[in-house]
């Protein structure tokens, strides 16, 4: 930026000052002084906004500009007795400049200020704002403008400009919120450890979190911050700035949290005053980046999985099976088994990543929320147990036990047993690995996949090592009767797993469905025994067996399925349904619908700051507006369809239906109390 261009910009400014306009234009930015209402009411507050419309690439600054730069300043010349508040700053962005970081705004921003008028006033008044701002791209240009507004009193009423009103609404939506969350920080070796209690934060929706201090000093803006979840909220490791807080000085600033919703990222600022205190070691929240460590620990976790009660039997059998082809075919089997394990983990990871990308709130363990899956796994465990007990032998081929080394069919069986091992392991992994894998799922797709594959590799390693060095297998006794006994013993962990899964199922379904599931189990056992008995006999008998098995499981599955569907629209009081809305409208009532989910922080924040407040409750009551909640915590096709109808694929969604008939007003995803009150007033 040459000095000449700066002079040209200054000339522009002077020109606009001469005109006393409410707007100035420089080559980088247009700055306008706006009033929310086109007039003032004596004694009533009035909101003004300084709006910056920037050329692409240019930015202006937040109250703390970060490593360099300067915040805009407004010097007011107001009518006698009028008072201007400080600027209400919207949540800033981090703007990198090389390795430095600034806090500021790009594209456009409106800085709001509340004016207090006096009752003594009447007649038109003039407001002058002498604004200074620094606008930067690579280079920085200090600019200033004298902006002027003429305001009639309310005697001369003009309708508010809807564009300005919506601009002010949007600006308020970008204000940080006060949650009253407890926040504690502790300084450790140049790092500020900050813990913030946000109950809903333990869900897997947060994509990013960072902290900016209100003022220069405590925090290094360009320092790499790490964040993690803990049981009740978030924990951040923030590199301290050049003047870290001392003694019992509080740490004040904004926690900026971005969470994933079906419609992209929602970013919200939370005002914090953290007090110094002692933080216990971080025990629950897996930390942020650190891919090598994450992979290493996933690998270790995979090794540990081998000891799980539902996995050990399958693997032991597989290892014993290896003894049979310890003469060279073993290595191939080990590799094929590993491939089976990795494929299964990759498939699981891909499914989870795809579902997450589609905005589903799922984590590892989601499969156990689905009664059908639990039932299927229970049958699988039962069948494996029966097989190990020697009730039938068909499944042994599935485990790659039988057959000759190297035969194609046998290798396919080994691959299948790799897949089977992962499937069998999944109910056991969920309770133990849920947190760690949930963390993996919040990472970029490549990293999630990497963590799952590392886990799979760890899982397959013991068997792979044994197959590559079959000499170790010689440590096992020679094949013989002991193998059969071992199989029989190992059946019992499988029965235990089946019993546990039944217990899980019993929490999810009605006693009738549970009875059907148990009947299915009996029929399945019978069918497996019968099929073995008839293995060398007539075909018809085998048909009877499979029919019995299919029928038994079919009854149970059907029962589970129908109950599952009947469960979905759980009609609690004041819960949303389209019919409910229509009925209330028909009664002549307006209806406010809040589509929310337990894992959606934005929803919870909105409820706390803008919905569940005394003023909003009073306003709803006063206007006789019904308040319905649509809970999307668990997938609900009706709510998904309603979201889609309004162009959304995720919560939050707020709808305000007028009385009688008509389309609802869609409120923004970031609510403020004022915005909700205004919408209610306008109904």
């Amino acid at each position: 930026m040459t000095f000449g261009r700066v002079l040209a910009a200054l000339a522009c400014l002077l020109l606009s000052v001469a005109h006393g306009s409410n707007s100035v234009q420089t080559p980088q930015v247009q700055v306008s002084l706006l009033a929310e209402q086109p007039h003032y009411t004596p004694g009533q507050p009035l909101w003004l906004g300084l709006r910056f419309d920037l050329l692409p690439g240019w930015h202006v600054y937040w109250r703390n500009p970060g490593d360099s730069g300067e915040a805009p300043r407004i010097d007011w010349r107001l009518p006698d007795g009028w008072q201007a508040s400080d600027i209400h700053w919207p949540v800033p962005h981090r703007i990198p400049v090389g390795h430095l970081v600034n806090y500021g705004y790009e594209d456009s921003v409106t800085l709001l200020v509340e004016l207090q008028t006096t009752t003594a006033d009447a007649g038109p008044r003039t407001i002058v704002a002498n604004a200074d701002w620094l606008v930067c791209r690579e280079t920085c240009i200090p600019q200033q403008g004298l902006l002027r507004l003429e305001l009639p009193d309310s005697a001369a009423v003009d309708a508010a400009n809807p564009r300005v009103v919506s601009d002010f609404s949007a600006a308020r939506g970008q204000w940080p919120v006060t949650l009253g969350s407890r926040a504690i920080y502790q300084q450790v070796d140049g790092t500020l450890q900050l813990r913030v209690d946000i109950p809903a934060a333990s869900a897997g929706q947060i994509e990013d979190a960072w902290f900016a201090a209100y003022d220069w000093g405590p925090v290094a803006p360009s320092g790499r911050q790490q964040w993690s979840r803990h049981a009740d909220g978030l924990r951040l490791a923030i590199p301290a700035g050049e003047m870290p807080p001392t003694g019992d000085m509080p740490l004040q600033g904004l926690l900026v949290v971005s969470e994933r919703s079906g419609d992209g990222l929602l970013t919200r600022g939370i005002r914090l005053t953290a007090t110094p205190g002692l933080l216990p070691p971080d025990t629950t929240g897996p930390p942020g980046p650190g891919i090598a460590l994450a992979l290493a620990f996933a690998f270790l976790g995979g090794l540990l999985l081998n000891l799980m009660p539902c996995v050990l039997p399958v693997l032991s059998i597989k290892i014993v099976g290896l003894v049979r082809h310890a003469d060279g075919g073993a290595a191939r089997h080990g590799l094929v088994f590993t491939a089976g394990v990795l494929s299964a983990f990759a498939a699981l990871a891909a499914a989870l990543i795809a579902l997450r990308a589609a905005g589903e709130a799922i984590g590892w363990g989601f499969q156990l929320q689905e009664p059908l899956v639990v039932l299927g796994l229970m049958y699988l465990m039962l069948a494996l147990g029966l097989n190990l007990s020697g009730v039938f032998s068909m499944g042994s081929r599935l485990m790659g036990l039988a057959g000759q080394a190297g035969s194609r069919h046998d290798l396919a069986g080994t691959f299948a047993s790799g897949v089977l091992a992962v499937v069998v392991a999944s109910p056991c992994t969920a309770p133990f690995m849920g947190g760690a894998l949930g963390f993996a799922l919040t990472q970029p797709a490549v990293m999630s996949l990497g963590v799952f594959l590392a886990l799979g590799l760890g899982f397959a390693t013991p068997l792979l090592l044994l197959s590559l060095w079959p000499a170790w297998l010689r440590l096992l006794p020679a094949p013989g009767a002991w193998m059969e006994r071992l199989r029989n013993v190992l059946a019992f962990p499988m029965y235990a797993a089946a019993a546990w899964l039944l217990w899980v199922l019993s929490q999810q379904v009605t006693p009738t469905v549970l009875a059907a599931a148990l009947a299915g189990a009996v029929l399945l056992s019978f069918a497996l025994w019968w099929s073995d008995l008839s293995l060398h006999n007539r075909r018809r008998q085998r048909t009877v067996a499979s029919t019995a098995a299919v029928a038994g499981m079919g009854i149970a599955l059907l029962a589970t399925l129908t109950q599952n569907q009947a469960d979905q629209p759980s009609i609690a009081q004041a819960s949303w349904s389209a019919d409910h809305v229509r009925a209330l409208q028909a009664d002549g009532r307006a209806v406010f619908v809040n589509f929310t989910a337990a894992w959606c922080i934005t929803c919870k924040v909105n409820e706390q700051v803008a919905l569940d407040t005394d003023r909003v409750r009073a306003a709803l009551e006063h206007h006789n507006i019904a308040y319905l909640k649509g809970d999307w915590t668990r997938r609900d096709p009706a709510i998904t369809a309603e979201l889609a109808r309004h162009g959304r694929s995720g919560v939050p969604l707020y709808l305000l239906f007028p009385p009688h008939t008509g389309q609802p007003q869609v409120l923004p995803q970031f609510l403020t109390e004022g915005l909700v009150l205004q919408a209610i007033e306008n109904i």
């Binding site: 360099s68 400049v97 920085c140 450790v188 140049g190 790499r224 993690s228 025990t283 133990f432």
Partner: protein, 203 residues
């Protein structure tokens, strides 16, 4: 099992905390990191050459409005002359990368010095930004004072009022001047760290 996984996670957290703790830049009271650079006369200047003398480092960029505030008003030159009068070594450092604002050749830098009546001991050209990164210089101006023992005695702004308006200089608290006088007099610097303000260094 659950406990073992938890332990792994704790170990993981510790590892990350330790790795971030090593990012620290310079600290007041600690030895100022040694450096050497080429000045506008083509001479190699090393910090250790000035052991026993007080040294001021001034990050600068002649096109930055905050730098102009202090040069157009004569404030920075006044600081430099006072320093020279006290036997203080004043090194102006230009860390602008080639093609970025404030990048100059040796001849251009000398011409700027002459034109503005500046009086630094030397102007160091640091187009690769090595010295700037070493000291964590973020703004122009950004001021550092190193005492006779080679310890960093001050870092921060030239003064207290963040603006580009030369009229503010008279009202501002002249942090650098006050700190420099304290260091020269062998006293403890009262305000050893202040907010540096200005344009970003154009690395």
């Amino acid at each position: 099992m659950g406990i073992r996984i938890r332990e792994q996670v704790v170990a993981m957290a510790l590892g990350i905390v330790l790795s971030t703790a090593t990012l620290a830049a310079v600290n007041v009271g600690q030895p100022a990191p040694g450096f050497s650079g080429i000045d506008t006369r083509g001479q190699r200047i090393a910090l250790e050459d000035y052991r026993g003398q007080v040294v001021v480092l001034e990050w600068t960029n002649h096109d930055c409005p905050y730098v102009r505030k202090h040069y157009d008003s004569g404030n920075m030159q006044a600081h430099q002359r006072e320093a020279a009068g006290n036997g203080v070594v004043w090194l102006s450092v230009i860390s602008s990368a080639p093609g970025k604002q404030g990048h100059v050749t040796a001849a251009e830098a000398d011409e700027l010095t002459a034109q503005r009546g500046a009086a630094p001991t030397a102007v160091i050209l640091d187009p690769a930004g090595h010295i700037g990164r070493l000291y964590g210089a973020r703004t122009t101006p950004h001021m550092y004072i190193i005492d006779r023992d080679g310890a960093l005695a001050y870092m921060g702004g030239i003064d207290s009022i963040v603006s580009t308006d030369p009229a503010d200089i008279a009202q501002a608290t002249a942090y650098t001047r006050i700190a420099l006088n304290e260091v020269v007099a062998g006293k403890t610097v009262q305000r050893a760290v202040t907010r540096p303000y200005g344009c970003s260094v154009k690395y």
